[in-house]
């Protein structure tokens, strides 16, 4: 044993000294190993941290730890959508039953029903806004307020509306130049309406019956407005209270939560910023963010310059919102603040939006301080009631009117598009949009049936029932249908809405019905795998045909990102180490060939093949371990430096989601370190093996050089 140790000491000594003798070779081989080990540690730690971030993002915003959905679904659950849009899921018919089963599983803390879909919402119409203002003035005057201020405001609003109609008429006239005759005929009525509303006579008579005039404008003119549009919204219909309890990152940033059991919608703050905010204001925000957070410069950045240019050219959105009084006020404020002598508001706006790095901050402040108070910045405001439309399961469009209670965010995911674009709706409204029976709908259908005299007909006696007492054809049958007195569509909608909004659904009504999927929150979020099996067993035992997937799988493509990145990293590492293997192998073969005399001598004076083998393996092993450890250490130091520097900033919204915050704070993973060292050791031994085998074939004869 002691002899063995002694022999090994000399072995290690020879190996080490040989490394120092051929410094260049050692440094090249070591350098490659160093870089590889560093990459494994740094990359592995970053990926682990992204994994953690994603875990937080996905679990905290929508998924929980597990998701349950019908096993009969055509598609797989994809909480953030898939390439082909929303996945086709079969519904869970009775969520209450599922919840009951799942809550019996000890690991389960909470179960939240969900229905995720896309819908369209009206993003408002400048005409509607203007008409609403005048209507308020008229109501005030009818209530007896004839103050000069109100009268002046009323006149200003009227003038604003008249100018909007003239502008619309001009724009549509331009559009007509390029459409064909047939279409013009078809649109003759629209043109006539527009001409009537543009005529001075209309405005002269306006005051005689302001409400009728407004009705005409609302029904005939507003729909022609070019600014009238829909935008898409992605939402999750859920038990809003259960959701808020289960998802701790979720919070209402503006407005209030939807009162318990009531209908309503909470819009994602980021969604509101991106899709509902006045474009000029949004662009200013984006430029400010790019400058402040990402240190970009307008002068050097093509995209920022483009945004500036777009704002200059698109002042119409602002001009349309301002009535003459407001326009005058805006002109006064801008002339003073900029300062400028320009009397035209449009030109002033162009001046305001003409910014470079030197004046951007000042112009941004002027916009928000002077101009914004006169504007409606968001096309949907908290407290508004919006119409949400979607294709129901049967294929028909269904729509619900929902009050916007507030804007919501997820802590740490404020700028993350995947999370922050999501809006939340009460579960009953989702069911209605999706085409499922809600208590109100059931009642409405029952009432219609009663009025129509319809009866339930069973399949067995359908024929008898249907063809009984067929009246003679000449005898017209009077249908016992009560026709409701016609009401104004708007009034009816308001009434229905008031009824729906006021109605408080019970928890049972929320739970005893359809959901598409359910988020399962675990007591111990780290035990996803084991808990998934428990949940699966419980569902099987209850004969519920449901699939259980973990959060990663539920996130669809997004969930695969980390796995994909890991594959890329390890492919890169594999290539580096393959190259390293070849280079080290070559270098060591060369070294072995140069040392044939030495090796032959060692063999001649009595060293066994084994000795030579170990000697060379130790040489590569020492290089591998020494430089591998150094590389791992540098990788660890890099992780530490990144942490000291405040993490890696999320330069775009996608990264924000992956990082689950504004920056990625990498954690040094013990696993990454271990993997790095194991790989390095394996590679260095593997690359040293062939040259070492060559060395064992060197015979002692090689030492016996002579001149023969």
């Amino acid at each position: 044993m002691r002899a063995w140790v002694r022999t090994n000491r000399i072995l290690v000594q020879i190996a080490f000294r040989n490394l120092f003798v051929s410094k260049a070779r050692t440094l090249i081989v070591g350098g490659i190993i160093l870089v590889g080990a560093m990459l494994v540690v740094l990359g592995g730690s970053l990926l682990d941290s992204i994994d953690q971030g994603m875990r937080g993002s996905v679990q905290g915003s929508l998924a929980g730890q597990l998701q349950v959905y019908s096993a009969r679904s055509k598609d797989e659950l994809a909480l953030y959508g898939s390439m082909t849009g929303e996945p086709q899921l079969e519904p869970i018919e009775d969520f209450a039953a599922v919840k009951h089963v799942l809550e019996q599983v000890p690991e389960v803390k909470a179960v939240v029903p969900m229905g995720i879909d896309q819908a369209m919402i009206a993003t408002g119409n400048d005409f509607d806004v203007a008409l609403e203002k005048i209507r308020a003035d008229v109501r005030g005057r009818q209530a007896g307020d004839e103050s000069p201020a109100l009268v002046a405001q009323y006149e200003a609003h009227k003038a604003h509306l008249a100018s909007m109609i003239r502008q619309l008429n001009e724009e549509l006239a331009q559009a007509r130049v390029i459409v064909d005759e047939a279409l013009i005929k078809e649109r003759a009525q629209e043109q006539a309406d527009l001409d009537r509303a543009s005529a001075p006579a209309f405005w002269k008579d306006f005051d005689q019956d302001p409400l009728a005039s407004l009705e005409f404008l609302e029904n005939r003119i507003a729909p022609q407005s070019l600014s009238n549009g829909f935008t898409f919204i992605r939402y999750v219909g859920t038990d809003l209270d259960a959701y808020a309890r289960a998802f701790q990152r979720f919070h209402v940033v503006e407005g209030t939560p939807v009162p318990k059991g009531q209908r309503g919608i909470l819009l994602g703050k980021l969604y509101a910023e991106d899709w509902l905010k006045l474009k000029a204001a949004r662009r200013l925000d984006l430029i400010k963010e790019a400058r402040d957070l990402r240190h970009r410069h307008i002068d050097k950045d093509e995209e920022l310059r483009q945004w500036v240019k777009e704002s200059q050219g698109q002042t119409r959105g602002i001009l349309l919102q301002l009535d003459p009084l407001q326009a005058a006020e805006a002109t006064r404020r801008l002339e003073q603040a900029l300062p400028s002598k320009e009397p035209d508001l449009k030109q002033l706006l162009v001046e305001l939006f003409t910014s470079d790095d030197s004046n951007f901050e000042r112009h941004y402040d002027i916009f928000y301080r002077e101009l914004a108070p006169l504007l409606q910045l968001y096309s949907v405001r908290i407290g508004d009631t919006i119409t949400v439309k979607a294709a129901s399961k049967s294929g028909y469009m269904s729509s619900v009117n929902l009050k916007v209670y507030g804007l919501v965010e997820w802590r740490g995911l404020e700028r993350s598009t995947a999370a922050g674009m999501m809006s939340l709706m009460d579960l009953l409204s989702w069911r209605e949009l999706y085409g499922y029976m809600t208590p109100e709908k059931a009642a409405e259908i029952a009432a219609l049936k009663k009025n129509a005299g319809a009866q339930d007909v069973s399949r067995e006696n359908a024929e008898a029932e249907l063809f009984r007492d067929v009246p003679p054809p000449d005898q017209a049958r009077t249908l016992p249908v009560k026709i409701e007195a016609p009401t104004f569509a708007g009034a009816a909608a308001r009434k229905a809405l008031a009824a729906a909004a006021g109605r408080v659904s019970s928890q049972d009504e929320i739970e005893e019905g359809v959901a598409l999927n359910a988020a399962v929150i675990l007591r111990d979020p780290t035990r996803v795998k084991e808990s998934r099996l428990s949940v699966d067993r419980a569902l099987k035992a209850a004969h519920l045909d449901l699939k259980v997937v973990d959060w990663q799988k539920a996130a669809g493509m997004l969930g695969q990102f980390v796995s994909l990145a890991r594959i890329i990293l390890f492919t890169a590492v594999f290539f580096i180490f393959s190259v390293a293997l070849v280079i080290i192998n070559n270098a060591m073969v060369m070294a072995t060939l140069q040392r044939v005399l030495e090796i032959g001598t060692l063999r001649a004076i009595g060293a066994q093949k084994r000795f030579v083998l170990f000697m060379l393996l130790i040489e590569t092993g020492v290089v591998g371990v020494a430089f591998g450890a150094l590389g791992a250490l540098l990788g660890a130091a890099a992780v530490g430096l990144i942490r000291l520097a405040g993490g890696i900033p999320a330069v775009n919204d996608q990264l924000y989601f992956f990082f689950a915050g504004p920056s990625l704070m990498p954690h040094l993973g013990a696993t990454s370190l271990a993997i790095a060292l194991v790989i390095v050791l394996l590679v260095s031994v593997a690359s040293g093996l062939y040259p070492a085998l060559i060395a064992t074939r060197v015979t002692p004869l090689e030492a016996m050089q002579s001149d023969e």
């Binding site: 002899a3 022999t7 000594q13 001649a604 004076i605 009595g606 016996m704 002579s706 001149d707 023969e708």
Partner: protein, 239 residues
């Protein structure tokens, strides 16, 4: 076989295959070497001197015939056993010294002892120290071979060959890379060791001056034994 014979070579043939051609390096050589001999193998280049030394040194085995070293038939030994035999029974001195460049003088000499094992550090120190003293390099123990002259290096090699107290030391042209005075010193050193410990030395050489120290000279020509004569200045000179 004589009891006193440490090496016995019996009708040995060695054939190398170089590509298509066969080279018959030795053709039926028979030879006995006794303990304590200081034997010179002489012959022109290509005569088969080195081949004979290799066979005796157990770094190669004969194509036919028998080589017995210290009573063991080398053709019947496996590679490992041959290596063991070299480690314990044979010391080598090379024409190009062949020291391990990365080890010190002391470590080079100590090396065979470490391979053998079995001696304590103190014993090793004593033995290596004594030998370095004997070859006059005690002061250079910590030097690397690259810091020594050719003669000094060959003296280290002599010490290394002797350190394991082998029965037999083989030296292939030990003085060929040395100037004549240094070469004479090395031969004197070897002779000294031969006389002190009775270690058998077998060396090949061209050099008549070197041959003159031998107790016997074996002449080889064209792979055959051309004669054996007792050594001494006269014998060397006559060749």
């Amino acid at each position: 076989m004589n009891d006193k014979a440490i090496v016995s070579v019996l009708d040995v043939t060695k054939i190398y295959t170089l590509g298509q051609t066969e080279v018959r390096a030795l053709r039926g050589v028979s030879l006995e070497i006794h303990r304590g001999e200081f034997l010179s193998i002489a012959g022109p280049s290509g005569s088969g001197k080195t081949t004979l030394l290799n066979l005796i040194g157990c770094v190669d085995i004969p194509s036919s015939g028998q080589v017995t070293v210290d009573g063991r038939d080398t053709r019947k030994l496996a590679e490992r056993a041959l290596t063991e035999l070299r480690l314990h029974k044979i010391g080598f001195i090379f024409q190009t010294f062949n020291l391990v460049q990365v080890l010190t003088v002391y470590q080079n000499v100590e090396f065979p002892l470490l391979l053998q094992g079995g001696l304590h550090r103190r014993e090793r120190e004593a033995r290596v120290g004594g030998l370095l003293e004997a070859v006059g390099l005690a002061a250079h123990a910590r030097h690397r071979p690259s810091e020594l002259s050719g003669g000094q290096r060959q003296r280290v090699a002599v010490a290394r060959a002797l350190v394991a107290r082998p029965s037999l030391i083989l030296a292939d042209e030990p003085t060929a890379n040395l100037d004549s005075e240094t070469g004479a010193n090395i031969i004197d050193l070897m002779k000294d060791m031969n006389q002190k410990d009775g270690t058998t030395f077998i060396f090949s050489t061209h050099d008549p001056k070197v041959m003159s120290h031998a107790t016997a000279i074996v002449h080889i020509a064209d792979g055959r034994l051309a004669g054996r004569q007792p050594g001494g200045p006269a014998a060397a000179g006559g060749r």
